[in-house]
């Protein structure tokens, strides 16, 4: 059975890139436009991994991670955050909130796939 990855990002282009890269590698991808949308889309289906941006309107990535970690069903799934090089502090906050790792933007499709494979085997 293929694994399902939730991609949360307010940028449509990044969502599209993440989605295409992962679908091509055989994963199922569900897209969400911000933290609030992302949290809603975790309900009622099995999610194996989340890739989320940090800077988003309505609900940011950190809050999303915190909320996801309280859900017993999602407590142990890998969560990867998309950060930029200048956000060392944000990365720390994300880690404390329970993120598994991070990818620094801009990234190439292979880099994304590399990290996904690293945490989701």
């Amino acid at each position: 059975m293929s694994k399902t990855i939730l991609s949360v990002d307010d940028s449509a282009s990044i969502r599209q890139m993440v989605s295409m890269t992962l679908k091509k590698a055989g994963y199922d991808v569900i897209e969400a436009v911000d933290g609030m949308d992302g949290l809603a889309k975790t309900k009622g289906r099995e999610i194996h991994m989340i890739i989320t941006d940090l800077n988003m309107p309505k609900m940011d990535g950190i809050t999303l991670i915190q909320k996801v970690r309280t859900d017993p069903k999602l407590k142990f799934i890998p969560i990867i955050m998309l950060t930029t090089e200048s956000q060392a502090e944000k990365k720390q906050q994300g880690k404390s909130a329970g993120a598994t790792g991070w990818i620094v933007k801009p990234f190439k499709p292979d880099q994304l796939l590399g990290v996904v494979k690293k945490v989701l085997r």
Binding site: I14, S86, V119
Partner: protein, 708 residues
């Protein structure tokens, strides 16, 4: 992603960025009204941030780079370092318009956009640069150093946080990653697992200990743990490093005793090991019996012992073939060493002299011993600086190939004795002279194929470069099988240039030496390669600056051989020590042929002509006492040191020839740089100075002054 998919994603990016720019404008205008509204600042920042990030990802580098600068300003505003003001709003609005233009025509080569972008960036920098120190340079974080190099065994202790599972990390994946790096021995420490009643299945109580042999370096190991390094306890220790060029026999000598390993692991100290070893049993058993260590810890140490043994066995079998060891040292360190050895040789000479004067057997014995050691040290040190000339020869293959194509020659370059070693500084200075000589051979020497065939020679010419040792010298020969040197041409040209008279009868070597005079060329046509007459005199000057000599032999129609005689090293020479009055002079032994006595009557017979009859040959001499204006009266019998340079003999008259002397050359220093006749100085055993005579310059100066 395929190209189609990438194009689709780019399409989405263009559309999305268009929307973001609209939103950016709105937010900026609103921000101007309410400069303290943090939501608006956040919205502007997010828009810029997304444009930058996606821009870079979809190949809009120009947009990304430019937006980065603007984003930086808003990051500072967001964190309260910078205040929103009208100027910043203006600049950001201007940036927005530029991004729009870049977006509409991404591939345009319109430099005016770049110029306007630069103008805005410059102005923004005046706001952001003030806070530059606080910002982390973006590269620093993204570049991960994965450079490794030498093979090494690492001990990795990995104790994850108990809540590792709640960050979605599977420790098994990390171990898999380590296995990919190299040979792994993995042990699990289960000591910390609580009793079943207290066991929380969602928490992790294991510790791993991994022995990893890899050439990827510590950074690669740290990269494996990059996502967990903040919360886990990770210790990476170097256990053993295996040198690249070590021979198999060096590896075999390393025996890893359990005791040593336990001490290196920090489990026990040496005293405890010695105490336990008194029992004369296996260390592991004793320690266990005495309860000094837990079984787990002993097992881990034994495992480490085995891992190391296995690795070394593997390496041994692999490296039995490669043995030559080498080490890289900066040349300045070597220069320093050579200088120090020079000083030592000087001091040793003084010591020997002192021992001789005191006639103390004990001291004499010591002085001899020091002399033997310092000579050995000197030879070894000089040897370190030696490099084979083969690489220099190799460089000329290309030159020969290109030149022969240009000149319409067919030439086969043969090199011999490439493993002949020479001082590195000497080799570097040989490049230019060799280039000139090769050019000459190809241009004047080796004929075009048709001419060669007409003369009954094989069309393919041969150019031989060879090197060989000869005492303290290296002889380098450049041989060609070309046309040889046309004596008549040289004769004519020499007469034209007033270098000789029409009636003079000159030997071949005297005639050939005219080639080395400045501005001398017999080529009818000046080509780009040679014929300007600047080449050969440069060759001679260069070689002589190395205290070497040049010699030309030629057979008309059969070829020319140029022989360079180069001293092995520049730092120490063998010299002939001589005295004039109270002054000491050293003449490089390389130039000396013989020493004869100058009898009073021989001098009288050749009054003012300074010629001595040496077995029938009249040899001119330089009277050093007069030349250096030494004020003292000459002894009854004087000595002439006969030197030979370019086949011409010249004598130097001195009071006394003291003998051969190991001469450590000291520079005279900047102030005396214009003195041509003295190439340096050396300190003698008694602490006095001796000047080293530059034979060739002195002769040419004397000759010049006689002609004038």
């Amino acid at each position: 992603m395929s190209n189609d998919e990438l194009d689709a994603a780019r399409g989405v990016f263009l559309e999305e960025t268009g929307e973001l720019l609209e939103q950016l404008e709105e937010s900026l205008l609103a921000l101007e009204e309410n400069p303290d509204d943090q939501d608006l600042v956040g919205s502007v920042f997010r828009a810029l941030h997304t444009i930058k990030g996606s821009g870079a990802m979809f190949g809009f580098d120009r947009i990304s780079t430019f937006t980065h600068e603007v984003e930086t300003a808003f990051e500072l505003i967001r964190s309260g370092v910078l205040q929103v003001n009208r100027k910043i709003i203006d600049l950001t609005l201007g940036s927005r318009d530029i991004i729009r233009e870049m977006l509409d025509d991404p591939d345009a080569e319109d430099t005016s956009i770049d110029m306007r972008a630069q103008a805005i960036t410059d102005q923004l920098l005046t706001y952001t640069r003030a806070n530059d120190d606080e910002r982390v340079s973006p590269q620093e974080e993204t570049i991960m150093d994965v450079s490794g190099g030498a093979l090494a065994t690492w001990r990795i202790r990995f104790k994850p946080p108990e809540d590792l599972f709640t960050t979605g990390t599977d420790p098994g994946h990390l171990l898999d990653d380590l296995r990919e790096l190299g040979d792994c021995t993995i042990a699990v420490v289960t000591e910390d697992i609580p009793t079943l009643s207290e066991l929380d299945p969602e928490r992790l109580f294991l510790t791993w200990e991994i022995l990893l042999t890899t050439d990827k370096g510590k950074d690669s190991i740290e990269d494996v743990f990059i996502f967990v390094s903040d919360h886990a306890t990770i210790r990476i220790d170097l256990v053993e490093q295996y040198q690249e060029d070590v021979g198999a026999e060096d590896i075999i000598e390393r025996v890893h005793r359990l005791g040593e390993i336990l001490v290196s692991r920090g489990d026990l100290d040496e005293e405890q090991i010695l105490f336990a070893l008194k029992e004369q049993k296996k260390l592991g058993e004793i320690l266990l019996e005495k309860g000094m260590l837990s079984e787990t810890k002993i097992d881990l140490a034994i495992q480490e012992q085995e891992h190391l043994k296995k690795t070394e066995q593997k390496l041994q079998s692999k490296r039995k073939t490669t043995t030559e060891a080498s080490i890289r040292v900066t040349s300045s360190k070597l220069d320093n060493l050579v200088n120090l050895v020079g000083e030592l040789v000087t001091v040793q000479a003084r010591l020997s002299q002192e021992a001789n004067t005191r006639n103390d057997t004990q001291l004499l014995f010591l002085a001899e011993e020091v002399e033997r050691l310092s000579n050995e040290l000197r030879d070894n040190t000089m040897n370190i600086r030696m490099v084979p000339i083969g690489t220099t020869f190799g460089k000329f293959r290309r030159l020969v190939r290109d030149l022969s194509a240009e000149l319409g020659r067919e030439v086969n370059l043969v090199t011999r004795g490439g493993d002949t070693e020479l001082d590195k500084t000497v080799i570097e200075k040989l490049d230019d002279p060799l280039v000139h000589l090769i050019r000459n051979s190809l241009d004047h020497g080796i004929e075009p194929p048709s001419v060669r065939q007409a003369a009954g020679k094989p069309p393919l010419g041969e150019l031989i470069m060879e090197a060989e040792h000869s005492g303290a010298y290296v002889i380098i020969r450049i041989k060609d099988d070309g046309n040889g040197i046309d004596r008549e041409k040289i004769r004519k040209r020499a007469i034209e240039r007033n270098l000789m008279d029409e009636g003079d009868v000159l030997s071949d070597s005297e005639l050939y030496s005219f080639i080395f005079s400045p501005g001398f060329s017999t080529a009818q046509v000046v080509s780009s390669v040679s014929g300007r007459g600047v080449g050969m005199d440069v060759v001679r000057t260069n070689i002589e600056s190395l205290r070497g000599s040049v010699d030309v032999e030629s057979q008309e129609g059969e070829g020319t051989t140029v022989t360079l005689k180069i001293p092995l090293t520049l730092a120490i020479i063998e010299g002939l020590l001589s005295r004039v009055g109270n002054e000491s002079y050293i003449i490089p032994l390389a130039n000396v042929e013989e020493c004869v006595e100058l009898e009073e009557k021989a001098k009288e017979g050749s009054k003012d002509r300074n010629l001595v009859n040496l077995r029938g040959e009249l040899v001119p001499y330089v009277y050093l006492r007069d030349h250096f204006q030494v004020r003292s009266s000459p002894p009854e019998v004087e000595q002439i040191i006969i030197t030979c340079l370019d086949g011409r003999r010249t004598g130097f008259v001195v009071d006394e020839v003291v003998g051969q002397h190991q001469t450590v050359i000291k520079n005279l220093g900047y102030l005396y740089r214009d003195i041509r006749e003295i190439s340096g100085a050396t300190i003698l055993g008694d602490g006095t100075l001796a000047l080293i005579i530059d034979v060739s310059n002195l002769i040419s100066d004397v000759r010049g002054s006689k002609y004038n």
